[in-house]
């Protein structure tokens, strides 16, 4: 065995020369361009650094950031809870249940979040007398609650589709195998199907969170001053474009953090698939 290994040892062939093809040159030029753009951006922010501006609007950005994170975080959680029955309804063979869930998802995925927030806030506002009568006005009077309500309904529709797709992606054989072993269907779903489905759903979920964070920037239109709202307020006072640049940097940092967390979760969840 060891003899054979000695005799069959081969020298690694020398690396082939890498010619400067057109694609390679374009690639390098593009990388150089983006590196320069990034450098220019940093230099701009350094030169534009204005301590008065930061002191005056920094705390407002912070409160806006907190609003964004709390609003989006809670909406995503509530949406996740709501998405499970919706996804199950979408999988149901009962045409009525399926139809209702389909219409719900169709509406919320087919219209802009801005329109939904507007409809919930100003549309429901038109019925304040009726809502007072049934005791719901206390909830809908508050702009934050309206934003939370609209965001939850919106993200639940997307999350339901993610969940449904993921559940359907698990091969039918998994169900049949569990049936053959006499495992109850509910238990099969929770312990066999769902864990496999969630691996498939992980990336789309991450996308949905990122989309929600960026989508929430419209919420200032219904007077909830989130990060983007505070940015616009700062801009309207100063007419200084760096207010928007700071907002962009903060959004980027949030998304980058999330991306890294998602990489970690994926590594952990798929460790049995590693070769």
């Amino acid at each position: 065995m060891s003899m054979a290994a000695d005799t069959t040892r081969v020298e690694r062939p020398p690396a082939p020369p890498k010619p400067w093809t057109r694609t390679r040159i374009i690639g390098w030029l593009l990388v150089a361009f983006w590196a320069l753009a990034g450098l220019g951006f940093v230099i701009y922010l350094y030169n534009a650094w204005n301590i008065d501006l930061v002191q005056k609007y920094g705390p407002r950005y912070w409160s806006g950031l907190k609003t964004t994170i709390v609003l989006v975080g809670l909406s995503l959680l509530a949406g996740a809870l709501l998405s499970v029955p919706v996804a199950l309804a979408r999988l149901s063979r009962n045409p009525v249940v399926n139809g209702i869930a389909y219409a719900y998802v169709y509406f919320f995925r087919g219209t802009p979040l801005l329109a939904q927030a507007f409809l919930v806030y100003y549309g429901i506002g038109q019925f304040s007398a009726e809502l007072k009568a049934i005791g719901l006005w206390g909830f809908f009077r508050d702009a934050w609650n309206c934003a939370f309500f609209a965001f939850t309904l919106n993200t639940a529709a997307y999350q339901a589709e993610i969940l449904r797709g993921a559940i359907q992606s698990v091969p039918k054989g998994q169900w049949e195998g569990a049936d053959a072993l006499g495992i109850r269907r509910w238990y099969t779903f929770l312990r066999i199907i769902l864990p496999q489905a969630l691996i498939v759903a992980l990336r789309p979920y991450g996308n949905e969170i990122i989309l929600m964070i960026k989508g929430s920037a419209i919420v200032a239109i219904i007077t909830v001053y989130d990060l983007m709202g505070e940015t616009r307020r700062a801009y309207s006072r100063t007419f200084d474009f760096q207010t928007y640049l700071w907002a962009a940097v903060i959004y980027l940092l949030i998304v980058e953090t999330l991306r890294n967390i998602w990489d970690l979760i994926e590594k952990r969840l798929t460790r049995h698939l590693k070769r």
Partner: protein, 261 residues
């Protein structure tokens, strides 16, 4: 020889025609006027797409006076100064108050009107006046990025001041009961009170303008350094004040002189 002479002649004729055209164009100055279109009775975009209002009529009168061909462009309030700076239009005639903050970014003409701000609340309100104490604990609606929002945020620190993108939205929220009061120009609010929706509410009182925040009235904004254009507007404002055109427009909208003291 004949060809080249004719060619030269033709060229000369064309050049003369061009020069005359240019001279003619200079006679009628071409101006693009930016306005918001959501601030009746000053400027409002009607359902059929036409612009109406005091600002618009004044702008047209000024353009006639200056012998200029004016074209209107509507632009959201938040972005109206950046759009002027970016050259989307040459002047803003949109009830823009002349303030020190804005003067750093644009040049202003003299004022073309000056009216006081006011507080409006539902008819059954318990708000007695317009001071900080009177409005403590109340929810006040105001349009964002305006002198009124600056004033409300600086003055009514014990109240919940909510900022709306346009006047239309705070009106909705006043009617449906989310707001205890709104703060805006008296004329804008009176116009609203005259509509069926505005029947809910009344004027609680007017606010004495704070020159530091409210400025010296509404002026026309032009890009920084365009003093020549600003001067032309100033002359035109004086002219329509003198020849009765201003009064004619004023009386169409108001029962007092909006020009102010």
């Amino acid at each position: 020889m004949s060809f080249s002479t004719r060619f030269k002649l033709g060229l000369a004729t064309a050049a003369i025609a061009l020069a005359m055209g240019a001279a003619h164009a200079e006679d009628r100055m071409k101006l693009k006027i930016g306005t918001e279109g959501a601030y009746p009775p000053f400027n409002n975009l009607e359902a059929d797409g036409t612009l109406t209002g005091f600002d618009v009529d004044i702008a047209k009168a000024l353009c006639d006076e200056m012998k200029a061909d004016c074209e209107f462009v509507t632009q959201d309030w938040d972005g109206i100064i950046p759009a002027l700076q970016a050259g989307k239009f040459d002047a803003i005639i949109a009830s823009m108050s002349i303030t020190d903050e804005r003067k750093e970014k644009v040049d202003f003409t003299n004022k073309y009107y000056n009216t006081p701000p006011a507080i409006v609340a539902p008819k059954d309100t318990d708000i007695k006046g317009v001071t900080k104490e009177d409005l403590a604990g109340k929810v006040i609606g105001v349009q964002g990025s305006t002198t009124h929002s600056n004033y409300a945020e600086a003055t009514y620190t014990d109240s919940d001041v909510k900022l709306y993108p346009t006047a239309d939205e705070y009106k909705l929220d006043l009617v449906n009961g989310r707001l205890d009061a709104v703060n805006d120009d008296i004329i804008v609010l009176k116009e609203f009170l005259a509509t069926p929706e505005g029947a809910c509410c009344k004027v609680v009182g007017t606010i004495k303008p704070d020159p530091k925040i409210h400025g010296e009235g509404a002026g026309i904004a032009v890009r920084k350094g365009e003093t020549e254009l600003a001067e032309k507007f100033n002359k035109a404002i004086d002219a329509i004040r003198a020849n009765g055109k201003y009064k004619e427009i004023n009386d169409k909208y108001f029962d007092f002189d909006a020009y102010g003291g």
